[in-house]
C-alpha cells in the first residue's frame, strides 16, 4: 500500500488515507475531473456531514484524487463556490466560516492571476501555502479522530470487571485526632459549668486514687474473693500503699466492692459488688 513518492512523504501526511495518494499528480486527472456534479438532494445530506470549510475542501480535493500540495486552486475554488451557492439556495444555515473560506479562496485565485514578483516573496506568505498547510493539518486531525474512534474503548469494546468484596469486609474508619490540651480544656469547661450551676460540690481528688480505683475494679471479680494484700505491691512503697488504701475505701463507700473478714486480725478478702449475706 505504501507507494507514496518522496515529496508526498515529506509534505503530506504519512497516516493512511482512505483514498490513495499515489494516483495523484497526473495532468490527465486535472484535465478530466470526473463526477463533478452532485445532485442537490444528495448534496444536502453530504453538507450536513461536513465539519466545516476545511472538511469540505478536503472532500473536494480527495474526491478528484488531487494532491493537496498541487491542487488546482482555481478549479477547487470554483467547485467550492458552487457548493456554497447551493447551500444558500437551499437556505441551509450557513456558518460564517464557509463564507470566510470563500473569501480566502477568492483572494488566492486573484493573486495567482497576477504575475509573481520574486522580491515580494519574503514579505508576505503565499496565501496558497498557508491554505495548504491548514488543509494538511486538518487532515491529520481528522485522521487522528478516526483512529481514536477505532481505539478499543470502555463500554463499547471492553467492559470493566466488578467483583463483590467479601461480605465480612468492614471499612476502616480513620478516627479524629484529639490533643491532650483539648481534653484538659473540655474537663475544665465541664467543671466550670458545673460549679456555676452549683449542682453539687465536687471534691478535688487525687487522680492517682481514681486511677487506682479503676485498676482495682479490673483486678477483682464478683465470683471470687481476692485477698486484699494482693492489691498492694511492695515496689510502690508507702505512697503507693496509701493510694491503694484510699482507693479501696472510696470503692467500699460507693458500694462497688465489698470486704469480708472472718475474724479479728484474719485475712481481709475483697470482691466486686456489695456484701451479700450468705
Amino acid at each position: 500500500m505504501s507507494n507514496s513518492d518522496e515529496s508526498a512523504s515529506t509534505l503530506a501526511t504519512p497516516v493512511q488515507q482512505p483514498l490513495p495518494l499515489a494516483f495523484v499528480n497526473g495532468e490527465a486527472v486535472i484535465e478530466k475531473p470526473e463526477d463533478l456534479y452532485i445532485p442537490p438532494e444528495a448534496l444536502e445530506v453530504i453538507l450536513e456531514s461536513f465539519e466545516g470549510p476545511l472538511d469540505l475542501l478536503l472532500y473536494l480535493i480527495r474526491k478528484q484524487k488531487f494532491d493537496i500540495t498541487t491542487m488546482p486552486v482555481a478549479e477547487i475554488t470554483r467547485q467550492y463556490m458552487e457548493y456554497v451557492e447551493v447551500m444558500q439556495t437551499l437556505k441551509l444555515e450557513l456558518a460564517a466560516e464557509y463564507l470566510l473560506m470563500a473569501a480566502i479562496l477568492a483572494e488566492i485565485k486573484s493573486r495567482l492571476l497576477l504575475p509573481s514578483r520574486s522580491d515580494e516573496e519574503d514579505d508576505e506568505e503565499d496565501p496558497r501555502a498557508a491554505l495548504i498547510r491548514r488543509l494538511q493539518e486538518y487532515e491529520l486531525i481528522k485522521q487522528a479522530a478516526e483512529d481514536l474512534d477505532l481505539q478499543p474503548r470502555m463500554e463499547r469494546d471492553l467492559f470493566s470487571v466488578s467483583v463483590e468484596p467479601s461480605a465480612d469486609i468492614q471499612p476502616v474508619i480513620i478516627q479524629p485526632d484529639v490533643t491532650l490540651q483539648e481534653l484538659v480544656l473540655a474537663f475544665s469547661a465541664a467543671m466550670q459549668r458545673a460549679a456555676a450551676f452549683e449542682h453539687h460540690h465536687i471534691a478535688p481528688e487525687a487522680l492517682s486514687t481514681r486511677e487506682r480505683m479503676s485498676k482495682i475494679l479490673q483486678l477483682l471479680n464478683a465470683e471470687q474473693y481476692t485477698p486484699m494484700e494482693a492489691l498492694f505491691t511492695a515496689e510502690e512503697g508507702r505512697a503507693g500503699a496509701v493510694v491503694t488504701f484510699l482507693a479501696i475505701l472510696e470503692l467500699v463507700k460507693g458500694q462497688s466492692i465489698s470486704l469480708v473478714q472472718a475474724g479479728p486480725f484474719a485475712r481481709i478478702h475483697v470482691k466486686l459488688g456489695s456484701f451479700e449475706a450468705p
Partner: protein, 209 residues
Amino acid sequence: MKKINSEQLKQLIEATIFVSDQPVSVDKLKNTVLADFTVSDKAIQSALSALQLDYRPRGIQLVEVASGYRFQSLDSLSPWLSRLWQETSPRYSRAMLETLALIAYRQPITRGEIEQVRGVAVSSNIIKTLTEREWIKVVGHKEVPGRPALYATTKQFLDYFSLKSLSDLPNAEDFMASLDATQNVTHVLHEEQATQAQGDSDNQKEPIH
C-alpha cells in the same frame, strides 16, 4: 443458531459474570450472551462447575447466590482488603470530649455522674464511640439501684496521649486557675484549639493513593 465450543463457552460465561453488576442466572445467560448459540443447560452447568474449579486456588471465588452466580473476594483476604475502604469520621463534638475528659479525670464514673456534672444527658453514641475506639471500658458496676456501669480509661487511652499513668494528666485545677488569671484568654484559647484540631484532622484526611 451458532455452535460454540466448550472453551469459548467458558470464556463467555466467565466474562459475563465478571462484567455484570448483579449475580447472573443461567436464564440470564441464555437470554443475553448465549441467545445466538445452540447450547444445552448441561453444557452451561458444566462450564460453571469448571470455572468454580479454576478459581478455587485464586484470590476470588465463583459462588452461587440466590439470584445467580457471582465472583467475590476470598474471605480470608478481608482483613487486608478492608484497607481499600477508609472513612474519615468527623471531629469529636464538645459533648464527646467532655465525656471523655470526665471519665479520664473522675474514673471510675457512671454515666449518671457524668450527666450530673455536665447537666445534660450523655448519648449512648458517645459511650459507644469511645468504647469502640478502646479509650474507655466498663470496669465494674456501682452498687446502687440499677447497678450502673462504671467507666474508666484504658491503656490504649494512655498510649494515645503518650501518658505513663493518669497522674501524668495535666492538673485541671491549675490549668483553670491559670486560665482565670488571664480572664478573657479562655475564648481565644478555645478558638485556637479549634483551629489546631482542624489542622490535625486535615492532615489525617489525606487519602491514600
